[in-house]
């Protein structure tokens, strides 16, 4: 009977995973989709546990319990601002599992591997260990355990490529004759080392693109595992995971106006060539206190809030939501404008604002809102920088030239909340700050927002 039940479990799981992804294309169906995917996973696990091959359960149960505990703890206590790190870490876990399964399979089946299976196995192990260490490095940089700045040295590209070359050569030799057992550890270790070296030269802020790319590698590795184990559900899940990672990195590249090749191969070089932190001569800017800003805000009818990475750093989402509520109570129409690469992860700002209870129909994407800035009395930029830089439109010499930006400079008044005059991720100065219509509100985003809320409430009460 298992002959039918097990394959049908896997088939149903594959279908449910797709249904799950389809669900998440719409707010209305998102949670139902999640439940479908969960049901699929349950089916797949039950289907596996009733297989005849599975004989000892001790270690299994232990591992399942420990894994569930860690997974639960991680997902319940992690702050939303740390999502990029969490994603990096989970890719590391997934890739580790793929690499280890590949290793075990190799030693179990080594003399009887067909050429194709050996090829899939080598790919699985190569991508698995590479993604494992690469994602760990990305995690370290994002969590600031490791230095976030790119670590660059002369000849780095040559060294990395040579290493990858050796790893691939070992892989090819293994495929040609899988019994060369000595080569297997070489392959695994080189892949792991290459993963580290691949990420070393990349700045912390460029991590999201790299993470997405590693995501698609992890997916590919999972699909390869599916070929090795002849399990179609693994291939389906791997393909879904892989295409998601690939698509998101394409979306990020487009929104940063960088070519896809630049990310695929440019990651070998110094991607964050953003230049030295722009040793600019002191130029005057208009700055204002929260009190002055609040006075202007009192009379505003239309306010567009533009959140950026600084909002996440300051964990200011709740305060900003409060500010929006006060402004709305004051008679203003408040909208949030989100640039596709605001923050450090696709959808980063959306999750933060959702966490702070901002309804999602008050949040608009760049394309939707860009026409509305001309009617806005105030564009309030909170910890965003590059995504508002007019140089992207006007200055062909700027590293971000051509990147689509939010037209905050069309608003009547622009207010910018940031701590100082430091540049954003791209390391370029922002002309916006020197315009006449711009007011700088210096300070930590949370503190400034708090001040604004206080002032507004006080004046209303008065």
């Amino acid at each position: 009977m298992n002959d039918y039940v097990v394959p049908l479990c896997y088939l149903a799981a594959s279908g449910l995973f797709i249904v799950g992804l389809k669900g998440i294309t719409q707010p209305r169906t998102a949670r139902r989709g999640l439940q479908a995917a969960e049901a699929g996973m349950l089916l797949a696990i039950v289907g596996t546990l009733i297989q005849k091959q599975v004989v000892t359960y001790t270690w299994l149960i232990l591992a399942l319990v420990i894994g569930s505990a860690i997974g639960t703890a991680m997902s319940l206590y992690i702050p939303m601002t740390a999502m990029p790190q969490r994603v990096a870490l989970s890719h590391a876990f997934g890739a580790l599992a793929a690499g280890l399964v590949g290793t075990a399979e190799y030693y179990n089946r080594e003399p009887h591997l067909s050429t194709f299976t050996a090829g899939a196995l080598v790919l699985e192990v190569l991508l698995g260990f590479l993604t494992f260490t690469g994602s760990l490095m990305a995690f370290g940089k994002l969590q600031e355990i490791l230095p976030g700045r790119p670590q660059v040295y002369r000849g780095q590209n040559a060294v990395n490529l040579a290493l990858l070359g050796v790893a691939v050569a070992a892989g090819v030799l293994l495929v040609l004759d899988p019994s060369r057992t000595l080569l297997f550890p070489v392959l695994a270790v080189l892949a792991a080392v290459f993963g580290v070296l691949l990420v070393i030269p990349i700045g912390g802020a460029d991590m999201p693109t790299v993470i997405s790319l590693l995501n698609s590698y992890a997916g590919l590795s999972g699909a390869a595992m599916g070929f090795v184990l002849d399990n179609k559900a693994l291939i389906v899940a791997g393909a879904l995971d892989g295409s998601s990672g690939l698509l998101l990195s394409i979306i990020m590249c487009r929104a940063m106006n960088r070519s896809f090749t630049n990310v695929l191969f440019g990651a070998f070089g110094q991607v964050t060539a953003g230049g030295p932190p722009a040793a600019s001569e002191e130029r005057p800017v208009r700055s204002a206190t929260p009190e002055e800003a609040a006075m202007l805000m009192e009379t505003a009818r239309k306010v567009i809030i533009v959140p950026g990475y600084g909002l996440a750093v300051a964990q200011a989402q709740h305060k900003i939501r409060e500010l929006a509520t006060v402004l709305a109570r004051n008679g203003a129409e408040v909208t949030f404008a989100i640039h596709p690469v605001a923050g450090r992860m696709p959808g980063h700002m959306n999750v933060l604002l959702a966490e702070a209870d901002v309804p999602y129909d008050q949040i608009k994407d760049m394309d939707e809102i860009n026409g509305e800035f001309t009617q806005a009395d105030i564009a309030l930029v909170v910890g965003a920088n590059d995504v508002t830089n007019p140089a992207a439109r006007t200055d062909p010499a700027s590293p971000i030239y051509g990147m689509p930006i939010l037209n905050v400079d069309s608003a009547r008044t622009v207010m910018v909340v940031k701590r100082g005059m430091n540049p954003g991720f791209a390391g370029v100065e922002n002309e916006l700050y020197f315009q006449d219509k711009t007011l700088m509100l210096f300070g930590d985003a949370k503190a400034v927002a708090d001040g604004l809320v206080r002032e507004l409430e006080a004046s209303v009460r008065a």
Binding site: F17, L21, I24, P27, A30, R31, L34, A37, G40, M41, A44, I45, T48, V55, Y57, W59, L60, I66, G67, G71, S75, L76, M83, S90, F93, G94, A97, L100, V101, S114, F116, G222, A223, M225, D230, K232, A233, L234, I235, A237, A239, L240, D241, G242, S244, L248, A324, T325, A328, R329, G331, E333, M345, P346, V351, E355, D357, D361, I363, R461
Partner: protein, 132 residues
């Protein structure tokens, strides 16, 4: 080409098409939950790990398999839980929730919601009328 390899290639090809077609329709709003959901789904490698850890093929297999099961389980459980946590946070516009500072005052809450959604229609409402 063995039949199973051939079938695998079809599955890979078709699943990739499905993945691209479906995922390109995911709105930016949900890009972060999407990442954690695909991550949880990719945790299906758990089934591969389970077979290796549970089929008693020697200490090496069991050890590697056990680590792999732990890692995959973290992804599956953690991925689904955090996706759920995130999706629960996304809400459409509605009467301000209980967490709002003014939630105890129904009049204020109603006004805030209305003025936020009605836009400039009642933006000129004189402030002296404010129920506070």
């Amino acid at each position: 080409m063995s039949a199973s390899v051939e079938a695998g290639l079809y599955v890979l090809l078709l699943a990739s098409f499905v993945g691209f077609e479906v995922i390109r329709r995911v709105p930016p709003l949900f890009h972060t939950p999407l990442m954690s959901l695909t991550n949880a789904i990719a945790g299906i490698s758990l089934v591969g790990s389970l077979v290796i850890a549970g089929s008693d093929r020697g200490a090496l297999s069991t050890a590697l398999g056990t680590i792999a099961v732990t890692a995959s389980t973290i992804n599956v459980v953690g991925g689904f839980l955090i996706t759920d946590r995130m999706l629960k946070m996304f809400r459409p516009r509605q009467p301000a929730t209980a967490r709002g500072p003014a939630a105890t005052d129904p009049a204020t809450t109603g006004t805030a919601t209305r003025s936020a959604s009605a836009g400039s229609a009642d933006a000129g409402r004189p402030r002296s009328e404010d129920p506070r």
